[in-house]
């Protein structure tokens, strides 16, 4: 099953709506609730990152019998140093993002913690591609 959701940069009132849709689908498929939670927490963190940092993005979801593969691509400033961005506490978030309860530099490390596989590539001034894979078994 494949699904595609658009993510609007800067629109915090809609941040989380794509992850919420994925949660509903996984619940309907009777996936283990602990795996649903791990998956949607990582997707939500990624979605908030797009809203907080990029101009626009997409969440492409591919659900198989044994796993979910999600690719989140955005057009935006990109990440100059991914190793630095993976460190807990490192953040370039704006004051507006911090007012929303984010921007503590926990996003990417938390995505890694909540996914079985995480791959990230980024080009400065082009955008970022993040792949999250979680297995149901």
């Amino acid at each position: 099953m494949e699904f595609k959701f658009a993510i609007e940069g800067g629109n915090f009132s809609k941040a989380g709506s794509a992850s919420s849709e994925v949660k509903k689908i996984l619940k309907q498929l009777n996936v283990n609730p602990k795996i649903i939670k791990r998956t949607v927490v990582s997707l939500y963190e990624a979605e908030v990152n797009v809203v907080a940092h990029a101009f626009e993005g997409n969440m492409n979801v591919d659900i198989d019998t044994d796993k979910i593969v999600v690719k989140i691509e955005d057009k935006g400033p990109g990440i100059p140093d991914i190793d630095q961005a993976m460190q807990e506490g490192y953040s370039t978030a704006s004051p507006q993002v911090r007012e929303m309860g984010f921007g503590a530099g926990m996003g990417l490390p938390n995505i890694k913690r909540n996914s079985d596989q995480m791959n990230i590539t980024s080009k400065v001034d082009v955008g970022t591609e993040l792949e999250i894979i979680n297995y149901f078994g």
């Binding site: 989380g16 992850s19 939670k37 927490v41 503590a104 926990m106 938390n110």
Partner: protein
């Protein structure tokens, strides 16, 4: 374990959404205005105590399987927040205490810290 009804009574709080869950018992409390920290928890049966009243408080709870949110410092949930909470069967409670006082009362009646 503390009954939701007992927490509401001791805090002199108001349930503004999801009042059918009053007999449910909750084991843990976590107090934070930082949703990034809330998203790192893997504890079940948890009350989120927060002063952050925006839509992302509800979204964070939805993703984290948190069914009860207590707003402190007299923070009011917006209509949009109530709608999203109801849709996700999340109970919203408001009280006028500071976060420190609310946590102190809840701990006194048996609500446990996550760590």
């Amino acid at each position: 374990m503390v009954k939701v009804a007992d927490m509401v009574d001791r805090l002199n709080a108001r349930v503004i959404c999801g009042s059918s869950d009053m007999d449910q018992e909750i084991q843990f409390g976590f107090a934070s205005d930082l949703m990034s920290d809330v998203l790192t928890l893997d504890t079940e049966n948890l009350l989120l105590i927060t002063g952050l009243n925006n839509l992302q408080t509800i979204r964070t709870s939805e993703m984290s399987d948190i069914s009860f949110i207590l707003f402190v410092r007299d923070k009011k949930a917006t209509e949009e927040m109530k709608e999203l909470a109801c849709e996700n069967e999340i109970t919203l409670i408001e009280c006028g205490h500071s976060m420190f006082r609310a946590c102190s009362i809840l701990n006194e009646i048996g609500l446990q810290p996550v760590y």
